[in-house]
């Protein structure tokens, strides 16, 4: 992929490259998938907003040629809520990490999902705090090592998909950086979906998570993603033993008819106007 690739049209590559991400990091792959999804849907760059919080994944907005907002740790979704309410025609993409989106930002995530506000939430899930140097996160599995879990993590991890479904998001999916084609298709569907769409993208941090957990190269981590995932469509055919320790990928919930918050608010405004004219 040289500079002639149409993806470059959507990048601030002359100004801002190279990226801050370490060699072998999965975030760049997710950025590519988001751009290709935006391209294939034919969205105007002026109509796309990317909002992020703090962390490795949250540096993504610097590199893409949209309206980009890099906010505070964990609060991206709340900022995005204000933007979407004021300009409903904008396509608002929120990029968070696992610590950003689920620990400090967990409250904003569940409440935005509950409102079913039309945001696309791409949660890049590498099970570690990368920017601060390798501390355990809400998705670090039990037994995994981190610099703040030097004897192995004893905290159970969140299942992002179950959390999103329970909170009320109307589109919930999981994919991995290894499944790059599937990731592209899922992100495209998530963008098209009207309502809160959550995509849990399992990603790799070879430099911190990998090194601490006996997977020294990005290739080993991608292989791990391949071997530890099962497609949601075949889970019924698998025994509980076969599914143990596996991450299920695919689309878990896709309900386009659920009432969407901004639309409902507009209906409220319209009904008040009608009421005023009737009186």
């Amino acid at each position: 992929m040289g500079p002639k690739s149409p993806v470059y049209e959507y990048l601030r590559y002359k100004k801002k490259f190279p990226t801050v991400w370490c060699p072998g990091c999965g975030i760049g792959t997710v950025m590519g998938a988001i751009i290709r999804a935006v391209m294939s849907l034919g969205y105007e760059k002026n109509d796309v907003v990317m909002v992020s919080g703090i962390g490795c994944s949250s540096r993504m907005p610097v590199y893409v040629d949209f309206n980009t907002l890099h906010t505070t740790h964990g609060r991206a979704i709340a900022f995005a809520t204000g933007i979407k309410l004021v300009k409903p025609h904008l396509k608002v993409i929120v990029v968070t990490g696992d610590g950003d989106g689920l620990a400090i930002g967990g409250n904003h995530f569940i409440h935005a999902a509950r409102r079913n506000i039309d945001l696309t939430h791409i949660l890049i899930n590498n099970s570690i705090y990368g920017m601060t140097g390798g501390q355990y996160s809400p998705t670090t599995p039990v037994g995994a090592f981190a610099y703040t879990a030097p004897y192995g993590n004893i905290e159970p991890d969140f299942d992002v998909v179950k959390l999103g479904i329970a909170a009320g998001a109307s589109f919930v999916a999981r994919t991995t950086v290894y499944h790059v084609v599937q990731m592209g298709k899922i992100i495209e569907k998530a963008l098209k979906h009207k309502g809160y769409s959550l995509v849990d993208v399992i990603s790799q941090c070879p430099v911190l998570y990998g090194r601490l957990n006996k997977m020294k190269s990005p290739v080993e981590m991608l292989r791990w993603q391949k071997e530890h995932t099962v497609d949601v469509r075949v889970t019924a055919k698998r025994s509980p033993e076969e599914l143990k320790g596996k991450y299920i990928v695919g689309i878990f919930k896709d309900e386009p008819d659920m009432p969407e918050y901004v639309t409902e608010y507009q209906k409220l405004i319209d009904s008040l106007k009608e009421g005023a004219t009737k009186r």
Binding site: V62, T68, T72, I83, H108, A276
Partner: protein, 384 residues
């Protein structure tokens, strides 16, 4: 809707809502907290009728975040809270300073620290309003003292926020928020409304944080065709993160200088009987109401006292204190806290004068008698 020009009896919090609407506010996000909640309730009722949006967020951090997002999308936006919520908002207040986003944050003060005195009156967030968030910046804080002034200063807060592209804090107190008083809604065409400066140049020339002679840049709302980056990181004129020494210094100085360059324009105050005064009371908010009565009573006893009511608290009007203290023999600073603004008065007063506080911090409005007592102490005329 309020009948314009006709006097009514309304609460300070409601006057704040009317002021916001008059200034063009079309977005409010908030979280319930006494004694500010009536503002949120008013906005929830009135905004959708006008095509505006109200949202009750999950907490105060989310509230100010949504308000900043709304402003970035082009709306005039406001939130209202009280002490504990204001503390939670500090990070985003800092974000708004750093990203030069116009927003209005109303803090209806109650006693603190922590949950403190819910909900009795106080002025104990005076220093926090000026220096709450971490880092260097220059805060703009207004403080009205009557229901009519609440309306007026809510409009002024929006105007200053829009003109200076910065958050403006409106400091009220519980007494003012819940006090019902005569209010006259001025006719719409008599209200000055300022909007943020927008770009007219082609996209390729646009720099969101451009260095200009008066330090005010062009603001383009998201979706209006000028794509750019906003970050809470120290940034260059384009908005991209930078750690280059010169750019860091310039960026921080811009945040300060854009306020100081326009300080005179946004310094509001009222003088009461100061022309021939030998003694001066400095006060703001509802404490200034008691102070005014104290002046009237002291004058009856032939004590030449005047009142300086500060309506702009930050940036602190040093020049005003210097000018007014010229023929003064002593100053009393009346405030409902343990002595916050008195530090600034002492710092700004160029002469060595006796400066004494009249303070109350038990949740009850300070009385004229208490202020007169401090005046007498300063006067060296203790009766006891």
């Amino acid at each position: 809707m309020q009948d314009k020009g006709k006097p009514t009896l309304i609460q300070g919090n409601i006057a704040c809502g009317y002021g916001a609407l008059a200034a063009g506010c079309s977005f409010f996000a908030g979280y319930p907290i006494t004694p500010s909640t009536e503002i949120a309730e008013f906005m929830a009722r009135e905004l959708p009728k006008r095509g505006g949006k109200f949202i009750q967020m999950e907490d105060e951090m989310g509230s100010l975040a949504a308000v900043i997002g709304a402003s970035i999308a082009g709306a005039k936006a406001m939130t209202a809270t009280s002490g504990p919520g204001f503390s939670l908002m500090q990070e985003h207040l800092g974000f708004a300073y750093m990203t030069e986003t116009p927003v209005v944050v109303v803090n209806v003060m109650r006693g603190g620290p922590s949950t403190g005195l819910p909900t009795m009156t106080s002025q104990s967030d005076t220093l926090q309003a000026g220096f709450g968030p971490h880092g260097d910046y220059c805060a703009v804080v207004f403080a009205p003292s009557s229901v009519q002034e609440v309306f007026e200063y809510t409009v002024k807060a929006f105007n200053a926020a829009e003109f200076l592209q910065t958050p403006v804090v409106l400091l009220m107190d519980e007494t003012l928020a819940h006090m019902r008083e005569r209010f006259v809604h001025p006719p719409a065409d008599s209200i000055e409304v300022i909007n943020r400066k927008e770009p007219e140049m082609p996209f390729a020339w646009f720099k969101r944080f451009e260095m200009t002679p008066d330090c005010i840049s062009n603001f383009s709302a998201f979706g209006d065709g000028y794509r750019y980056h906003i970050t809470g990181l120290t940034h260059d004129q384009m908005g991209f993160p930078t750690a280059v020494s010169r750019e860091v210094t310039d960026g921080l100085e811009k945040l300060r200088d854009k306020i100081l360059n326009h300080k005179e324009r946004f310094t509001y105050y009222e003088k009461f009987m100061t022309d021939d005064a030998n003694w001066l009371i400095v006060a703001f908010g509802t404490a200034a109401r008691s102070a005014k009565q104290a002046v009237i009573e002291a004058r009856r006893h032939r004590m030449k006292v005047g009142l300086l009511q500060l309506c702009t608290i930050w940036p602190f009007p040093d020049e005003l204190i210097a000018e007014l203290s010229r023929n003064i023999e002593g100053i009393v600073v009346a405030e409902m806290n343990m002595g916050q603004l008195i530090r600034e008065v002492k710092r700004a007063c160029p002469r060595k004068l006796p400066i004494l506080g009249a303070n109350r911090y038990d949740g009850v409005l300070i009385t004229p008698d208490e202020i007169i007592h401090s005046l007498k102490v300063v006067h060296g005329n203790k009766e006891r």
